[in-house]
Symmetry: C2
Subunit: 542 residues, 2 copies
C-alpha cells in the first residue's frame, strides 16, 4: 500500500512553507525583485523554456517540492510507465502513449505483443494510405479526389487532433479540408452536411470499441448520407479502431482500417493512428512523423532529466503546490498564439479527465484535492474577456504560452512603432508581471491591484510540428506526474459511467415511445418524465 501523500515528510514541510509564503514579505512583488530571479526559477529542456519566476515559490519551496518528487519516486514511476508496467491498475492495462513516438528501437512487450512494432506497422499503413489519397490513386465512388475529411469521433478521438490540426493549419498544403463531427447533436451533422461535397468526402470513424454511442449515431448519419448520394461506403469510409471490433469486420467492408490499442487511452492517443490518419491526410505524413519525433524528444526529457531541470516535472510540482498548499481551485492556459487556440480544450480533457479523481490507486479516499479545473482562451483575446477577474477578482494560476517566431512572420507592418507580433509579446511580457506585482492605489480602491497572482510562461521557438509534439508531450507528462504524486490512476475514467447508464435507461424509454405513441414514460422518474414529455410534445411546460 502506497503511503498517503499527506503523510509524506516533504508534504508536511510544504504545509509549513505555505504558511510562510502567505506573509507579506513573500508577496510576488518582493520575490521577483530578488537578484537573478529568472535564472534561478526557469529551466530549458528539449527546446522549450519554462519560466516559473512569477510563481509563489522560493528556493526552499522548490527544494522541498523536489524532495516530494523524490519521496514519490516520480522518475521511476514515469520510466515504469514508459517501459510498459501496468500503471492503469483498475483496468489492468499499460499506458504506452510514449511508445507511439519511440523510434529508438526499444522492444516493449504487452500481453505478448511487441507494442512498438505494432505501432510502427500501423504508422507504415497510415503513411502508405495518405500517399495513395494524396496521389489521387484512391478516390471516392465517382472518381473524384478527396478534398474533405470528416473525423467522426468524440473526446479523446477528437480534441487532441483538433488542437494539432489548428496548430498546423497554416502549413497544411494537401488540399484537404479537415472537419470534426464529435457531437451527437443533429445540428452538428446538419451544418457539416451543408459544407461538404459528398463525392469528394472521406469519413474517418474513430472509436476503440466501435460502440461509442455518439460516434455510432453519427456513423449511421454518414451512411445514410452516402446512400442518399448514391456513394458506396466502402469507397468513402475508413476506421480507426481496435482489432476485431465491429469497425474492423470484413463483413462491413471499408476503404481501410487502422488499429488502435488498449495500451493507449483516448486522451493520450493523438500520436497514435487516432491523430495519425486525419493529420497525415491534412498536413502530410512527414509532418505527422516530425510531430511524433518532437513528442518523443520531450518524453525522453521527462524520463531522464533530473527533477530540478525537468520541465514537466517542475510544472507538475508547482501545480500541486498551487492546488494543495496555496488553495487555488482552477488554472488557466493562455496561449499567445492563435494556432494554439484549441490547446486549452485539449488540456481541459487531458488534465481534468485524468486527474479528476477521488480515490487512490489502492481505492482509498484521497486526503487532499486532486485535479484543478482548467480553462482558457488565446491571449490577447483573454485579456479583453476574463482577465478583469484574474487581476482584481478571485485569483487563479495561469500558464502563459509564447512562440518566438509566428507562422506569418513575414508581415512586418508596424502600428505604434511595433509589429503585430511584437505587440502580442508586449502583452505576453506585461501580463505575468502585472499579475505578480500589482499596484497599490490607496486613493481609488477600484483602481487598486493586490498582485501576488502566480503564473508560469512556457516558450517555444516556433510552431514546427516538432514543437507542437513537445508541447503535447509536456502537458501529458505534467498530467501523469501530478497523478503519481497523489497516487491516483490518471488512465481510467469510471466517473463517466453513471451518466451513460442513466442515459441508456432514458434512451430505452424514448425508443419505446418511438415504437408506440401510447407509451406513457411512467417508467421514468418524475423529473425525467417531464423532460421526455416536453421533447416529444415539441414544446416547453408552463
Amino acid at each position: 500500500m502506497t503511503q498517503p501523500v499527506n503523510d509524506l515528510k516533504a508534504w508536511r514541510r510544504l504545509e509549513a512553507h505555505a504558511e510562510r509564503m502567505a506573509g507579506p514579505e513573500n508577496h510576488l512583488s518582493k520575490l521577483i525583485a530578488t537578484p537573478d530571479r529568472l535564472a534561478g526559477f526557469s529551466a530549458s529542456g528539449s527546446g522549450l523554456f519554462l519560466d516559473y519566476s512569477r510563481q509563489r515559490v522560493d528556493a526552499d519551496v522548490m527544494t522541498t517540492l523536489v524532495d516530494l518528487a523524490g519521496e514519490r519516486e516520480l522518475t521511476r514511476c514515469f520510466t515504469g510507465m514508459v517501459s510498459g508496467e501496468i500503471v492503469n491498475r483498475t483496468e489492468n492495462r499499460a499506458a504506452l502513449h510514449t511508445a507511439a513516438r519511440d523510434f529508438s528501437g526499444s522492444k516493449i512487450t504487452v500481453n505478448g505483443m511487441d507494442a512498438v512494432a505494432e505501432l510502427s506497422r500501423v504508422n507504415a499503413e497510415v503513411r502508405e494510405f495518405a500517399r495513395r489519397i494524396h496521389s489521387g490513386e484512391l478516390t471516392g465512388s465517382t472518381g473524384k479526389p478527396f478534398r474533405h475529411a470528416v473525423v467522426i469521433g468524440i473526446g479523446g478521438s477528437y480534441l487532441g487532433t483538433e488542437f494539432v490540426a489548428a496548430a498546423l493549419a497554416p502549413v497544411a498544403d494537401k488540399n484537404i479540408r479537415l472537419h470534426f463531427l464529435p457531437n451527437v447533436d443533429i445540428d452538428c451533422f446538419g451544418s457539416l452536411a451543408q459544407s461538404i461535397d459528398p463525392e469528394s468526402t472521406l469519413w474517418i470513424i474513430i472509436s476503440k470499441s466501435y460502440t461509442t454511442t455518439e460516434t455510432m449515431a453519427n456513423e449511421a448519419q454518414a451512411l445514410a448520407f452516402l446512400r442518399e448520394n448514391n456513394l458506396d461506403p466502402k469507397d468513402h469510409i475508413v476506421t480507426v479502431t481496435a482489432k476485431g471490433s465491429p469497425g474492423d469486420d470484413p463483413a462491413n467492408p471499408v476503404l481501410a482500417s487502422f488499429h488502435m490499442f488498449d495500451f493507449i487511452g483516448g486522451r493520450f492517443s493523438v500520436t497514435s493512428a487516432v491523430g495519425g490518419v486525419p493529420l497525415s491526410l491534412y498536413a502530410g505524413f512527414d509532418r505527422f512523423e516530425r510531430f511524433l519525433a518532437g513528442a518523443g524528444e520531450m518524453d525522453r526529457h521527462a524520463a531522464s532529466a533530473p527533477p530540478e531541470k525537468n520541465l514537466p516535472l517542475i510544472a507538475a510540482l508547482i501545480s500541486v503546490w498551487n492546488n494543495n498548499f496555496l488553495g487555488y481551485p482552477a488554472s488557466a492556459v493562455i496561449p499567445y498564439s492563435t494556432p494554439l487556440s484549441r490547446l486549452p480544450a485539449h488540456i481541459q480533457q487531458l488534465y481534468m479527465e485524468s486527474n479528476g479523481k477521488g480515490v487512490t490507486q489502492d481505492g482509498m479516499p484521497l486526503n487532499t484535492e486532486s485535479g484543478m479545473i482548467v480553462f482558457g482562451e488565446p491571449g490577447t483575446n483573454a485579456q479583453h474577456s476574463f482577465f478583469q477577474l484574474a487581476h482584481q477578482g478571485r485569483p487563479f494560476p495561469i500558464d502563459f504560452i509564447g512562440v518566438v517566431r509566428p507562422h506569418f512572420e513575414a508581415y512586418r507592418n508596424r502600428s505604434k512603432g511595433v509589429t503585430n507580433h511584437q505587440e502580442l509579446w508586449a502583452n505576453l511580457i506585461a501580463q505575468p508581471q502585472a499579475l505578480a506585482t500589482g499596484k497599490a492605489d490607496p486613493e481609488n480602491k477600484a483602481r487598486h491591484f493586490s498582485g501576488n497572482r502566480p503564473s508560469s510562461t512556457l516558450l517555444l521557438n516556433d510552431l514546427s510540428p516538432e514543437n507542437i509534439g513537445k508541447l503535447l508531450s509536456f502537458y501529458e507528462a505534467k498530467t501523469v506526474f501530478e497523478a503519481f504524486i497523489w497516487d491516483i490512476n490518471p488512465f481510467d475514467q469510471f466517473g463517466v459511467e453513471l451518466g451513460k447508464i442513466m442515459a441508456s435507461d432514458i434512451r430505452a424509454s424514448m425508443a419505446k415511445k418511438n415504437e408506440n405513441p401510447e407509451h406513457s414514460f411512467d417508467d421514468a422518474g418524475p423529473i425525467e418524465k417531464a423532460y421526455l414529455e416536453m421533447l416529444f410534445g415539441g414544446s416547453l411546460l408552463g
Copy 2:
C-alpha cells in the same frame, strides 16, 4: 453608503441554512425525491423554462434568497438601470443596453440625448446599409458584390457577435461569410488573409474609442492589404465607433460609420450596432430585429416578474448561494446544442469581467467572494472531456442548456432506437440526475459516485432569433442582479488597465529597438529584458 452584503439579515440566515444543507438528510438525492420537486423548483417566463430542482436548495433557502433580493431591492436596481440611472458610478455613466431593444416608445434622456431615439436612428441606418449590400447596390472597388465580412474588434466587440452568429449560422442565407479578427496575433491576420477574396471583402472595424491597440494594429494590416490589392479603403471599410472618434472622421472617408454610445459597455453591446452591423449583413436585418425583440421581452420579464417567478433573478440568487454559501469557486455552462457552442465564451467575458471585482460601489473591500470562474464546452462533447472531474473530482455547479427543437429536426434516422436529437436529450436529462443522485459502490471505490453535485437546466423551444435574444438577455440580467446583490459595479473594468500600462512601456522599448538596433533594453526590468532579447534574437535562452 450601502449596507455590506454580509450584514444583511437574509445573509445571516443563509449562513445558517448553508450549515443545515450540508447535512446528509439534505443530500440532493433526498431533495429531488420529495413530492412535486420539479413543480416547486422551476419557473417559466418569456418562453424559457428554468429547472433548479437539482440545486442544493429547499423551500426555506429559496424564501430566504428571495428575502435577500428584497433587502437589496434588486428589482428597483434593475428598473433604475433600465430607466437610465447612473449605475456605472465609477465612470459616471448609465448602462442602457436594454434601451437597444426597447421598442415600446420609451424616452430615456442621457446627457441631454434621447437614448432610444439615437439607437433607433442607428438601427435604421444599419437596416438601409444591409439592404444596399444585399441588393448589390454597394460593392467593392472593382464592382464585385461583398461575399466576406471581417469583424475587426476584440472582447465585447467580438464575443457576443460570434456567439449569436454561430447560433444563427444555419439560417444565415445572405451569401456572406462572416470572419472575426480579434487577436493582434499576426497568425490570426495571416490565416484570414489566405481565406478571403480581397475584392469581395468588407472590413467592419469596431472600437468605441477607435484607439484599442489590437483593433488599430489589425486595421493597419487591413489597410495595407487593401493597398496591396489596389482596392480603395473607402469602398471596403465600415466603422462602428463613438461619434467624433478617429473612426468617424470625414478626413478618413469610409463606406459607412455607425455610432456606439458611452451608455452601452462592450460586453453588453451585441444588441447595439456592434452586433447589428455584422449580424444584419450575415443573417439579415429582420433576423437581427427579431433577436432584439426577444432580448427586449426577457428584459421586461427581468424588470417586472416577481422574484419567485423571475428567471434571471432566481438564477442570480442561486449563483450567489452556490458561490458565497456553498463555496463553489467555478461554474460551467454546457449547451446541449452545437449552434450555442460559443455561448460559454461569451458568458465567460460577460460574467467574469462584470463581476470579477474586489470592491463595492462605495470603494469598500467586498467582504465576500464576487464572481465565479465560468467555463464550458457543448454537451455531449463535455461529457467525453472534463465531466470525469465533475462526477468524481472537485464539484462545480453547472448550467445545462437544452433546445426542444433543433435547426435540423428533419433528420430522423435512428440509432439504438432513437434519433440523434433524442440521444442528445437522453444525455441532457441523465447528466443532472447522475450528478445529483450519485451511486454508492462500497465494493469498488473507483466506481463510487458521491453525488450531491448541483445544476440547473435552462430550456428553449428552438433556436429562433427571438430565443437567442432571450438567452442573451437572461445571462445579462443574471449578471447584473448578482452585482446588485454584492453592490459592486458590473460595468467598469479597471482591472485590465495595469496590464495595458505595462505593455505600453514594453512596446516603447521595442519601438526604440526597431528604430535603433543598438538599443539595449536596459530600460526594462531584468525579466522583461530577457524576454525582449529572446524575441528580437529570434530564439530562446539556454
